[in-house]
Amino acid sequence: MREITYAEAIREALKQEMQRDPNVFLLGEDIGAYGGAFKVLKGMLDEFGPERVRDTPISEAAIVGAAIGAALMGLRPVAEIMYMDFLPIATEQLVVQAAKMSFTSGGKLRVPIVVRTQYSLGRAHASQHSEFFPVWYMNAPGLKVALPSTPYDAKGMLISAIRDDNPVLFIECGLLYRNKGSVPEEPYEVPLGSADVKREGEDVTVVAVSRVVVEALKAAEELQKEGISVEVVDPRTLSPLDRKTITDSVKKTGRAVVAADDHKTGGVTAELTATIVEGAFDYLDAPIVRVASPDVPIPFSPPLEKQYMVWSDDIVKAIKEIV
């Protein structure tokens, strides 16, 4: 199959959905002529014009708010927040407004918005342009949270997100934008709420999120040489969380490492741990090991940032602790 990048897959999903449905439009900062801070939206303005590719002033709360209002009226806006670090400014709109609208109205309202953002850990962007804190949104009922790790998932999940009648936070990973993978040309959906076994194995399960899936797969490859068979599960969405796929895998392997780019304490690896404890405790042959970012902000200094991050080596080490 044709190989394209993660960024291209996202662009293609947006293009195809915009071609299919005139109610889909984009809004965000510098997404028009500039093509988005990472050029993910390059060419979209030319193809769809300024009514459907809408540049905004620097107003994150209003960007998400405007998306919500348009969605209440029947449109399907896709808003972009340039860096995940700016999302806190719009989080009241996303979590306290959008996520609660269907519920608070007793089911009268629907808010089909997608908020796209990306985390830039690993690009020397320092403490205010690198953060990743998906747990905030996972702990916010009414909101779906999608984090694709491959070009294939990126396209299929974004199409699903746009077609979903609920607010969806779609968290991309800046470091993955140039990764290539097989992606069908036609539109397709990857259902939100379905985890994916990215690699089958017998001895240990690694549940990994977003970029760290790639590292987990590297670790699995490496450990295969040593005769350790690693299963890699990618939840793909944190909300809804496909607990069954995760716990089924752990029931099979009896061991689990959970790994993600966010800070360890109170992060998604805590929920993954608790999920496994609840669903597969009696099958566990060893403690669950968390691999995550340290509980400190993200340093600029490039070698320190490198050391700070989760790499395949860290996952290998964690696996070896329990196998």
């Binding site: 439009f25 009514e51 809408r54 905004t56 002033p57 107003s59 994150e60 709360a61 209003a62 960007i63 998400v64 708010g65 405007a66 998306a67 919500i68 209002g69 348009a70 969605a71 209440l72 009226m73 029947g74 449109l75 806006p77 009241e92 709109q93 306290v96 407004q97 609208m101 269907s102 519920f103 608070t104 109205s105 007793g106 089911g107 009268k108 309202l109 629907r110 009922p141 009414g142 779906k144 009648d165 609920n166 809804p240």
Partner: protein, 350 residues
């Protein structure tokens, strides 16, 4: 913005239109006939009577729980604005939304049942007092209990109307305090940026809980903030339903002509405390007395009596009818069921 240059001074001039003290002769020009005028008065009385009942139920009978912010005293605004919309508007409301809900045609039964937390309520009992103005089929689109936060959302509705080329407007209701929030600023700027068909309807009721608008809105008048977005501002007697009506029509027509949003400051007074339990001890009693004289309902009923549009008997009858309706709403609410717990999950995601 047309600055006049004068040496080293740029004289910035901005015209803020004032609407107040309409001449009765204007009424016809506004297209309001007797039956419409009486309907407006009736709606104002309905809101007032509803709120009196609510106060009683909370404070004296302890029959209701949680927060309730009465619309008492501000009736002319909801009614003037919503009647001027003539079904061509999508309304975004606030924590003080009973009046908006009723003015948008949501029945007292549904609103009251919501306060009782019953499944027959406008939000099936899940929203409560701060979320009653929600019925998309009637144009009641959302009510935020977070101050300022519904304003950007209203902007999105305006965007949708423009995107689809529809001849309607979005209306954001908010009060003075909301204009100090960041969300409000971003919203007004974005609405002007895209020239969206929106009426920003500020119910300046002089207070945000205990904080006087005259202090917190640092330029003195909400309408002056229109300058910051290059949009028209209006200052309107918010206790005169006809002024409210006229101003809204103007803003709506402008929006429909594609000329963008208008910021209207309706001057009014929160005649009760902030919430049902607040005695408003932080403000001078003589200020309350002063505003009492401007009560929008007595003013409007007096006018309609003078104009002969309604008789004293009709007015009494109407008041009684309304009273009965509200009593029925209470009975209806009491008899209704609480929602089943299983509903919570069903409505969290669509």
């Amino acid at each position: 913005m047309k600055p006049l240059r004068d040496g080293t001074l740029t004289k910035l001039e901005w015209e803020i239109e004032e609407i107040k003290g309409l001449d009765p002769s204007e009424i016809q020009k506004l297209g309001l006939d007797g039956s419409k005028l009486v309907k407006m008065l009736r709606k104002m009385i309905e809101i007032r009577t509803f709120e009196e009942k609510v106060e009683q139920l909370y404070v004296y009978k302890a029959a209701l729980q949680g927060a309730a912010h009465l619309y008492f005293g501000e009736e002319a605004i909801a009614v003037g604005v919503c009647f001027a919309l003539k079904g061509e508007g999508y309304v975004f409301s606030t924590h003080r939304g009973h009046g908006h809900a009723l003015a948008m045609g949501i029945s007292p039964k549904e609103v009251m049942a919501e306060l009782f937390g019953k499944v027959t309520g406008v939000c099936k009992g899940l929203g409560g007092s701060m979320h009653v103005c929600i019925d998309p089929e009637k144009g009641a689109m959302w009510a935020s209990a977070i101050v300022g936060s519904s304003v950007p959302i209203a902007v999105g509705a305006g965007l949708a109307l423009k995107y689809e080329g529809r001849p309607e407007v979005a209306v954001a209701f908010f009060s003075d305090g909301a204009t100090n929030t960041g969300a409000w600023h971003e919203a007004l700027n974005l609405a002007s940026f895209w020239k969206l068909p929106i009426v920003f309807a500020c119910e300046n009721n002089q207070y945000a809980i205990s904080m006087p608008a005259s202090k917190a809105v640092t330029c003195g008048r909400v309408a002056y903030r229109a300058v910051a977005y290059g949009i028209p501002g209006m200052i309107v007697d918010g206790n005169d339903v006809l002024s409210v009506y006229k101003a809204t029509i103007k803003a709506k027509e402008r929006a429909k002509r594609g000329e963008g949003p208008t910021l209207i400051e309706f001057l009014t007074y929160r005649m009760k405390g902030h919430g049902v339990y607040d005695k408003a001890e932080y403000r001078p009693r003589e200020e309350e007395e002063r505003w009492k004289k401007l009560d929008p309902i007595s003013r409007f009923s007096k006018l309609l009596l003078e104009l002969g549009v309604i008789s004293n008997e009709d007015l009494k009858r109407l008041e009684n009818e309304v009273k009965e309706e509200i009593e029925e709403a209470v009975e209806f609410s009491k008899k209704s069921d609480f929602p089943p717990f299983s509903m919570l999950e069903e409505v969290t995601f669509r």
